[in-house]
């Protein structure tokens, strides 16, 4: 059994809207294992993204605990959370959110130089990673407005990986991409997971869900079901798709 790197205990998150309390997450107990490709699935408004942000330290829970390697991050100050994210987490967003005043290379370096002082040290690694995800030398100095959505998302993945985070959180990483670009992104995520990177991905897309070895289904603010699968192999896609589809149907998706 892999090490548990992230754990929640009776995690609750509520929002006040116009004087009313909206309870989005209700008493979630959950464990994320090292090396897993964890998928969080659910219908729109089920609390997937809220759960992701609570797990990653982007948001603070209303009640309950979030423990990252036995450290309770729910009690941290904003600055402590910023340092926690810097040291342990990588993020991939649906809207990508590359900094538009910087080239692809500089976007990655901005993240890299948060942890490391020497540009020389990280530059080579950045270039290698960009090549690995299919961003060639000609595109390194391009700005986000000059790149396709798929290229931007791949740069976003490199930005998330450059500091060797303990865990990468991705919120609908293929949501803004076409089919081909989305497939390329999923292939990259699968490959890095194979190399040992822990991933937590929120999605409502079955193709993305199939890449995970653990699917958690969230409904009405709580985890309603879990499906454990072997790690993804391309040759077993059809079998896997059926399994995932059946699980989701059972969950009422």
């Amino acid at each position: 059994m892999s090490d548990i790197i992230l754990r929640t205990e009776k995690l609750c998150k509520s929002f006040s809207t116009g004087g009313n309390q909206q309870h989005v997450l209700k008493n979630i107990d959950l464990e994320i294992r090292k090396g897993d490709f964890t998928i969080i699935m659910g219908s729109s408004g089920s609390g997937k993204s809220t759960l992701l942000y609570a797990l990653s330290g982007m948001d603070r829970p209303s009640l309950g605990k979030v423990e990252f390697q036995k450290r309770d991050i729910s009690k941290c100050t904003n600055d402590e959370l910023a340092v926690f994210r810097r040291d342990n987490c990588g993020f991939v967003f649906q809207s990508i959110y590359l900094l538009d005043n910087m080239s692809a290379l500089d976007n990655v370096l901005t993240s890299a130089l948060l942890k490391r002082k020497s540009k020389k040290e990280v530059l080579e690694e950045t270039k290698q990673l960009l090549k690995k995800v299919g961003i060639d030398e000609n595109s390194w100095n391009k700005f986000p407005s000059q790149m396709s959505g798929g290229e931007c998302q791949r740069v976003g993945i490199v930005r998330a990986l450059i500091n060797h985070p303990r865990i990468v959180f991705a919120d609908e990483p293929t949501g803004a991409l076409n089919s081909a670009s989305g497939q390329a992104v999923l292939n990259i995520l699968t490959e890095v997971n194979r190399e040992g990177q822990s991933l937590v991905v929120v999605t409502h897309d079955i193709k993305t869900a199939m890449r995970g070895n653990r699917i958690l289904y969230i409904k009405d603010g709580n985890i309603r079901g879990e499906l454990n699968l072997p790690f993804y192999e391309e040759q077993e896609t059809e079998k896997r798709r059926k399994e995932v589809q059946l699980f989701l149907e059972q969950m009422g998706w």
Binding site: N101, T110, L113
Partner: protein, 384 residues
């Protein structure tokens, strides 16, 4: 380092607006520095020249009918007096000097060029060969009325016209500009004697005190003494008189007006800069919320993100202020030349490092405080 990096990227992105703000700050600082330099220089120009030219702090031109030896004795023996002298000069209470634009109506004093006393070490410039019987040496201030060396100068007094030819100019802090109420001239011995025959001579009581404040007190005491001791038929009014404190004010007047105008412009432009910075910060934060959120997600602390934006404006202010302070050194001589024309005195500018540093720090602090004090965006950032 990471903050500097992000700041430079932001500046590159907003090049156009950054340059326009930098220009505004440059102009505001330039006007501020020039204004301050002229303000302080306006008084120093008088002091420096007054000492260098060995001129008296107190000067009283009395007609023969008015003068009493006791007045001079009072002045000479007064405890405030450091040095004194009584010389003979020619005085005109209501002289007239016509020039191209009008006529100067003012009291005039003529000294013998060939006689040297304890006071007055004039430096003559622009000397020109003219006929000896017409030669006159005029104060520098007459240049601004269109006079040049070799020009004819007509002086009117009590219906008579006295024609001279300017043989040169000299600088003086003693009746050197019309704001002091009088103008002083030098005549060569021959001309002096000729004019003396026609008009007669006056007595000039001259004195120096330890400070300008003392010269003013001495002035009050002498006038008080004269008022109390003059008999009923003796006039108590002098041809012209002056003390260094009041002369300094008269000389400084134009420079201070000039400085005040420049400082006024500087204040207006500074207020505009402040409003621009405030507006731009607000606007930038609003349009950069996504960028701010991304930076926070990557692991930047809220304070670090705020620093990026504050540093942007601090950098612009620093560069603008430095450029303004440097340009001030280049532009100041132009104002100096203008003031020389007005004062009729040499105006040397001495750099003031402390003032420059204060200007720079003031600009930096103002932009840092203004860009730091949280617009709504910062508050949202902190809360998130």
């Amino acid at each position: 380092m990471k903050i500097w990096r992000l700041t430079l990227f932001n500046l590159k992105k907003r090049k156009g607006t950054s340059v326009s703000l930098l220009l505004l700050i440059f102009i505001a600082t330039l006007f501020l520095c020039i204004g301050l330099n002229i303000m302080t220089g306006a008084r120093n120009i008088y002091k420096i020249n007054h000492t260098a030219l060995n001129e008296p702090d107190n000067c009283y031109i009395c007609s023969q009918s008015m003068f009493r030896k006791e007045y001079y004795e009072f002045l000479k023996n007064n405890e405030l007096t450091e040095k004194s002298e009584c010389i003979r000069v020619i005085g005109m209470t209501e002289g007239e000097i016509p020039y191209d634009g009008g006529t100067i109506e003012i009291a005039l004093m003529f000294q013998n060029y060939d006689e040297q006393g304890k006071f007055f070490s004039p430096v003559f410039t622009d000397l020109t060969e003219v006929s000896a019987e017409k030669a006159i040496y005029a104060p520098e201030t007459l240049r601004q009325y269109g006079f040049a060396s070799g020009d004819m100068l007509t002086i009117g007094y009590k219906g008579n016209q006295y024609k001279f030819q300017i043989a040169g100019f000299f600088q003086t802090t003693c009746f050197g500009i019309i704001h002091t109420g009088g103008l002083r001239f030098y005549l060569p011995q021959e001309n002096y004697e000729g004019l003396k025959q026609e008009i007669g001579e006056c007595y000039a009581m001259l004195a120096s005190a330890e400070s300008y404040k003392n010269s003013y007190e001495l002035d009050m005491e002498l006038k008080d003494y004269i008022r109390k001791n003059a008999d009923s038929i003796t006039k108590t009014e002098m041809v012209i008189w002056g003390n260094a404190l009041e002369c300094e004010g008269a000389y400084s007047y134009m420079g201070i007006i000039m400085a005040a105008i420049l400082l006024g412009f500087s204040v207006i432009i500074t207020i505009i800069c402040l409003l621009v910075i405030r507006f731009r910060i607000h606007n930038t934060i609003e349009t950069s919320m996504v960028q701010i959120g991304t930076l926070q997600a990557l692991g930047f602390k809220a304070g670090e993100v705020i620093s990026v934006y504050v540093l942007e404006y601090v950098l612009i202010s620093t560069v603008g202020a430095l450029a303004g302070i440097s340009a001030n050194y280049m532009v100041l001589p132009v104002f100096g030349k203008a003031l020389e024309g007005i004062y009729g005195l040499s105006w040397k500018f001495f750099g003031h490092l402390e003032k420059d540093v204060c200007c720079l720090l003031f600009c930096i602090l103002l932009s840092a405080v203004l860009s730091f004090f949280p617009p709504e965006g910062y508050i949202v950032m902190h809360r998130s």
